[in-house]
Every structure is written in C-alpha cells, then in structure tokens.
C-alpha cells in the first residue's frame, strides 16, 4: 500500500462526519451555553440594547463634561434690510474656526447658536432678546458646565495659547471690580440699599464707553442665573422703556443692576480689555482713552469688532486682526522658510 493511494471512502466519510459533528457541536455548545446562562445573556442583551438606545455617552466612565462652555452666536443682523454678503460669510467662518480651535485646544465645550430668528425679526423688538433664550437653552444642554462664555460673532480670540483658567479664573479677585466708582459711563447709582457684597459674583460683564457690553461675558451655571434669565425680560419694564432702551437686553440689565440689589450683589465687572477689547473704530469719540482699545504690545486676549456693521468695514477689521494674530503665532523657525 503506497502512500499515494487515494484515501479510502469509509475513512473520508468518517472524517466528514466528524467534521460535521464538530461543527454541529459548536452550535450545540453555543445553544447549550445560552440555555444554561439564560438570565446572564438576557441581562447582557438588555445592557447592550440600553446603551444603543440612549447612547453610550451617558454611561461611559471616562466621558467628562466640559467645565467651561463657549457660546458663539452667529448669523445675526441682516434680515430684510441687508442681505448677507460673501464677506459676512467669510467673517463668520473665520470666527467659528477661531473659537473651535480654542475650545479644542483647552478642552472647553463650544456651542454655536444661530440667531436666525433675530434676523427674521430684525426690525422688531425681539432681536436682542434671543440671547436670553439661547443662554437658557445652552444651560439645559450642558447641565454640568460651570461657566458659560458668551461671544458675539465679530470676535477673535487673539491669544489662543492662554487658557481661561490662567488668564481669568485664577486672578478674578484682583482683576474684577464690583463698585463703579472708578469707571461709570452710565452714571449709575454707586450704592443702593441691601446689597450684600460678600456674595460670590456669578455674572462677569464688561463696560464700554456707552455702558454695559454684552458682546463677551461670563455667566455661571446656577439657580441665580436661571432666575436672572427669567426676570431679565419683563413686558412691564419693556413697555415703559422700549423707546429708550436702544440696546434692548443690555439696557434692561443696566436697569436691573441699578435698581435690584439681588442682581447687583452677584454682578462683577471685568476691564474691557481683558475679554472684550475694541478696535479703534468702536467708541471712536473716546479714541484717546486706552482703557477701551486693543493693544498689540499688551497682547490683549480677545478683540470684539463691536458695531462694525454700522458704517465700518467688518471684513477689513477682521483681516487686520487676523493677520496680527497670525504674526503672533509665528515661530522663530518659520523665518528660515
């Protein structure tokens, strides 16, 4: 019997049989396994199902909600009066890109909110009030965030390497001020009864030459903030003042600050240039006052081209500050190229 001899059929059959048997046994074994551990398998299945259904994000041990969330409002203004042009789209893109890179670099959250409703009603009073709605909406979206940073679309973060903790939160005490004795463009009352200044501030805003500026401000995620957002817009106040309150929600906040101690005791102010520097075009009647304007030597953190769409060149300003930022970000080895 040579080794080349074909295998005899009984042997092959036997082998096939064995093979089939084995295969069957695998299924069998799986079947018996499931049958034996019915409850465990059910539990695992349920767990997987739940994960699939509700998304894994909520169950993951390692997912960490951002402590600071940037809110960027885009698509404002325009409406029926003015169409959105090519340059405005470009400005919006640059602005979003700038914030996205910053948020990513430091692990902050970023939410981009469309002010389209404002656009739709731009000739009506509802325009500015969307800010309040958006803040509330964002608070629901990020219940675990600690701080929200509102940013208008025409802003650029000029020093993206600086984290907010380092730039701001670690030195809030020395940087911020609670009493308007030094700088009070609106001549608001300096002191009203019942204000308890021992409270920690939960709203940090800036003042420009015309009063409060809400182009860039910080607000804490708290009960107080929710109540403020609720009380901020009130038809009774607005009915009396809508002809005078040119800046809607800004003026309303000024009135609340002036009259209601529970709001005043948790509001603090930051110098304009710390989070909201102006270009030379804004506040132009005070052009010799260094408190307002972006300074390249001092490396101001954020520039806000506030009001650039009212008779100024937004695109030009955006390009100007964009190029300054790029030159700052340039490294020494780049010169070799």
């Amino acid at each position: 019997m040579s080794y080349n001899m074909p295998l005899d059929s009984p042997y092959v059959d036997e082998k096939k049989k064995q093979f089939n048997y084995k295969r069957r046994a695998l299924q069998d074994r799986l079947g018996t396994f499931i049958a034996e551990h019915r409850k465990t398998v059910l539990a695992v299945f349920c767990a997987l199902f739940v994960l699939f259904w509700f998304g894994s994000a909520q169950f993951s041990l390692f997912s960490r909600d951002p402590k600071i969330v940037l809110i960027l409002a885009v698509n404002d203004g325009g409406g029926v009066h003015k169409w959105k042009g090519e340059q405005e789209w470009a400005i919006e893109r640059i602005s979003i890109q700038n914030k996205r890179a910053y948020a990513k670099r430091h692990g902050y959250g970023l939410t981009i909110k469309d002010l389209r409703t404002a656009k739709r009603y731009s000739h009506e009073y509802r325009e500015g009030w969307q800010k309040v709605e958006i803040l509330r909406q964002t608070m629901r979206e990020f219940p675990n965030a600690e701080w929200f940073w509102w940013l208008d679309p025409e802003t650029l973060i000029m020093e993206p390497q600086l984290s907010l903790e380092k730039h701001l939160f670690k030195r809030l005490d020395s940087l911020s001020y609670r009493i308007l004795d030094d700088f009070n463009p609106l001549q608001l009352p300096l002191d009203i009864p019942y204000v308890d200044y021992s409270q920690e501030p939960e709203l940090y805003i800036t003042q420009d030459c015309g009063g409060f500026n809400l182009g860039s401000f910080f607000v804490k995620n708290s009960e107080w903030t929710k109540l403020l957002l609720d009380v901020w817009w009130d038809p009774v106040c607005y009915e009396q003042k809508h002809m005078l309150w040119e800046h809607r929600e800004q003026d309303a906040l000024e009135a609340l600050y002036a009259n209601e101690p529970w709001i005043r005791e948790k509001t603090a102010f930051l110098p304009l240039r710390s989070i909201n520097s102006f270009p030379s075009g804004a506040c132009s009647e005070f052009s010799d006052d260094a408190r307002y304007f972006y300074s390249e030597e001092d490396r101001d953190f954020v520039v806000n081209m506030a009001g650039c769409s009212f008779g100024r060149d937004c695109w030009g300003e955006m390009q100007h500050y964009g190029s300054i930022m790029e030159s700052h970000a340039k490294r020494w080895w780049r010169r070799m190229y």
């Binding site: 005490d173 200044y197 021992s198």
Partner: protein
C-alpha cells in the same frame, strides 16, 4: 571678613570706586567663592519673595477695603438693638400728623418746580444723651421718627425664626387704633418669641417716586419687608400683616399653623389659575419644601396682598426686589396684588417657589354682612370665630376700620 579680598602688600591703594567694583566682581563672579555667592543670591531671592508676598497681601487688603461696602439699609449709619421687637412710639402719631412730611423730611424743588421729598442717607442717629438734652418735645418726636428706620436687630447667634412685619399710617388712623394693632402684634410675637418689625408708611415716601401715600401705600409693602429682612438678617420667615388686620388666635404659632411642611401641603392650591381667568395655573407637582413665597388666594381668584409670608432666601428677596423695582412699582397697576400676579404669570421661576394657599390660613376676611359664629355655614374665605387672623380688607370703603379693630381687639383681649 570673607567678602573682602585680601589686599596685597605693596600695591598702591586704588580709588574707592575701583575697589567697590572689584569687591562686587569678587562676590558675584569669582569661581573660588561659590558658597558666599550662593548665600548672596539666596538672600536677594528671599528678600524679593518676602517683598512680593507682602505686596500681594497689602494690595489685596486695600483692594477689598476699598471695593466692598457693608450691607446697609436706606441709611448708612444704623442703630443696633438686641430687642427683637422693633416698633415706633405710637403715642407720637398726633404730633407726627401735625408735623406732616413737610416737617419731617427734606423737600427738594428742582428748576422745573417739581417738588420731591428726599432721604438723607448719611443722616446721623441722635444718641440718648443728646436726646435728653433736647427740650422741645416736637424735635424729640421728629428725631425718634427719623432714627426709627435705622434700627436693626443684631444679637450674637440668637435670632427669632419668624418676624411679623406691619406698616402703620399716622395720617389715616387714630392713636387708639394704632395702639391696638401694634399691641396685638407685640403680644403675639412675645408669646412665640418671634420678632416684630413695625414701620411708619410715611418713612418710605422719600425713597419712592410717586410720593402720594394714598396711591403708593400698597407698593411700599415690599419695601417694608425688605427693610425687615435687613433688620433681622438671620430670621427665616417674614410675615407681612397689614394694619387692617388682627391676629385673633395668639396661641397658634405660625410654624405649626401653616409653615409645617405637612400642613402647607394641605393648604397649598395646586393646578388653579394664578388669578381669575388666567391661563397660567399653579404647578401640579409643586414642591412644598422649596416654597419661599406663601400668598393667600381669595375666593374671587385674586392674590391677597394684606397678609402673606416671604422666606428670606434668594427667591424671596428677588421677588421683593422685583416688586419694589421702580419700573415695576411705577407701572399703572390697579393694586399690589395685580403686580404680584403679573410676576407669577410671567416668571415661572417665581411661580415654582410660590405656594398659593387657602385664605383662611392667614387672611380670613371679615364681612359684617356674614355671620361670624363658629360653625357658621360660610365659605372658607370669610372670617368665622376661631380663625387665626381677621382681616378687615375693604373697611376703608365701609369707613369702619377703627370700629372693626376696636370690636375685634376686645375679643382678642378676652
């Protein structure tokens, strides 16, 4: 001297400057003197660190001292008292009426001829010694009146938990009625170790724009409660009770009668329109523990602003500040209860913290046309014997306020 180089003998003495430069070089640069160099640099570093720390400390201190004023009321200087019953001398009412606002406050007339009473925030209190030296009785009364607003209760950690707040008016009420009203509160507060805070309504006239008392009377209420909160910073609840009301059952404590969670749960009205015909209803899933504002809702579907309770929390204070805001206060409301109803309907955060309760709890209204005997078959809104409070809401229209107070005060005294 380790730091000074040894002078070689025979070398000419050099100039002072040259020697100094050599010394510095020796100390800082010479490689042979590493230890002393390390010591020098260490000293410099230590001094700089200490200076930096001191400077930061000093700066921060001045920063706070400069920026954060103390919490104060309408007056900057205050008189502290350890008596929890703060009420003015009622017997002065006739003299105050004679003096009138003209005699009591400063009237300012601007260029356009608008007359306005103003409050001097920095008005200094008169000390007891000075007061004794004044012989003119009218002047004493005036000083007492002006100083009454400066009284605040401060006493270590002790504080009453509940403060009864009442606003009285010397123009439209005679002394007997006012004494009955205040004595009733004093008896009640003393019995349960509560605080009492009574102010003249006229004291607040200079702080508001509409300076006609008849028009503004209602809207001064939130201001009085806010002043009481400042006067009793550690008290929890503030019960405002109008002068047209008497506490009929001084044996009932407010905690057991209403503020206990279980009892409040029974008294609270859920899922009812905030005011008559409103689309906004009170929350069905209202959390009683978190209630900071307790308002009685009358059978006619109105909020009763003559007797209500506000907790001294963020929402309670915000609610009062909101009602006392000059923009809200100055609006053309029919009554304070309308402005409260507005606050609840437009601001869900307030509504979520407001318990609308059945009126019999703290605001049973006396109606002379209805029987008042116990078990009388009247609704749960009008006063019958055995109720906690008798409110004489509407007595101004009947012109029977003094008479009502007198009759009912006799009943309490029994």
């Amino acid at each position: 001297m380790a730091l000074r180089p040894k002078r070689k003998v025979g070398v000419e003495p050099r100039s002072f400057v040259q020697r100094a430069v050599d010394n510095i070089k020796m100390v800082l640069v010479d490689s042979k003197r590493k230890r002393s160099q390390a010591f020098t640099f260490g000293c410099v570093a230590a001094v700089l660190t200490i200076l930096y720390v001191l400077q930061a400390f000093v700066f921060q201190k001045s920063h706070y001292a400069h920026f954060l004023p103390q919490t104060h009321g309408h007056y900057l200087t205050e008189i502290t008292t350890s008596r929890p019953l703060i009420f003015p001398a009622i017997e002065n009412a006739p003299i105050l009426k004679d003096l009138n606002l003209r005699g009591l406050h400063t009237l300012r007339i601007d260029i356009d001829g608008n007359k306005k009473y103003i409050l001097k925030e920095d008005h200094q209190p008169t000390s007891d010694k000075e007061m004794k030296e004044i012989t003119d009785n009218v002047e004493v009364v005036k000083r007492q009146y002006l100083d009454h607003g400066k009284m605040v209760f401060r006493k270590g950690s002790e504080s009453p938990e509940i403060v009864v707040v009442t606003m009285i008016d010397y123009d439209n009420y005679d002394t007997t009625t006012l004494i009955s009203v205040v004595q009733n509160r004093v008896d009640y507060a003393q019995r349960h170790r509560y605080g009492l805070y009574v102010r003249w309504a006229q004291e607040f006239i200079p702080t508001i724009e509409e300076q006609d008392l008849a028009k503004s009377y209602d809207y001064i209420k939130p201001l009085v409660i806010r002043a009481a909160m400042h006067a009793f910073p550690k008290a929890k609840y503030f019960w405002f009770l109008d002068q047209n009301a008497l506490i009929m059952r001084t044996d009932l404590s407010l905690q057991n009668h209403l503020l206990d969670r279980k009892i409040l749960d029974l008294a609270v009205m859920k899922n009812v329109p905030v005011i008559k015909d409103s689309n906004i209803k009170t929350y069905n899933h209202f959390v009683t523990e978190k209630a900071e504002i307790v308002l009685p809702r009358t059978n006619d579907g109105e909020i009763d602003a003559s007797s209500f309770i506000v907790k001294s929390g963020m929402y309670g204070k915000a609610f009062l500040d909101y009602l006392g805001d000059q923009l809200i206060r100055g609006y053309n409301w029919p009554s304070l209860s309308a402005s409260m109803a507005h606050a609840l309907q437009w601001h869900p955060s307030f509504l979520a913290k407001t318990a609308l309760v059945v009126p019999r709890t703290v605001a049973s209204v006396f109606d002379p046309s209805k029987p008042v005997t116990e078990n009388a078959a009247v609704d749960d809104f009008h006063y019958i014997e055995g109720d906690f409070v008798a409110s004489f809401d509407g007595c101004k229209a009947r012109k029977s306020c003094a008479e009502d107070v007198a009759t009912f005060y006799q009943q309490v005294q029994k």
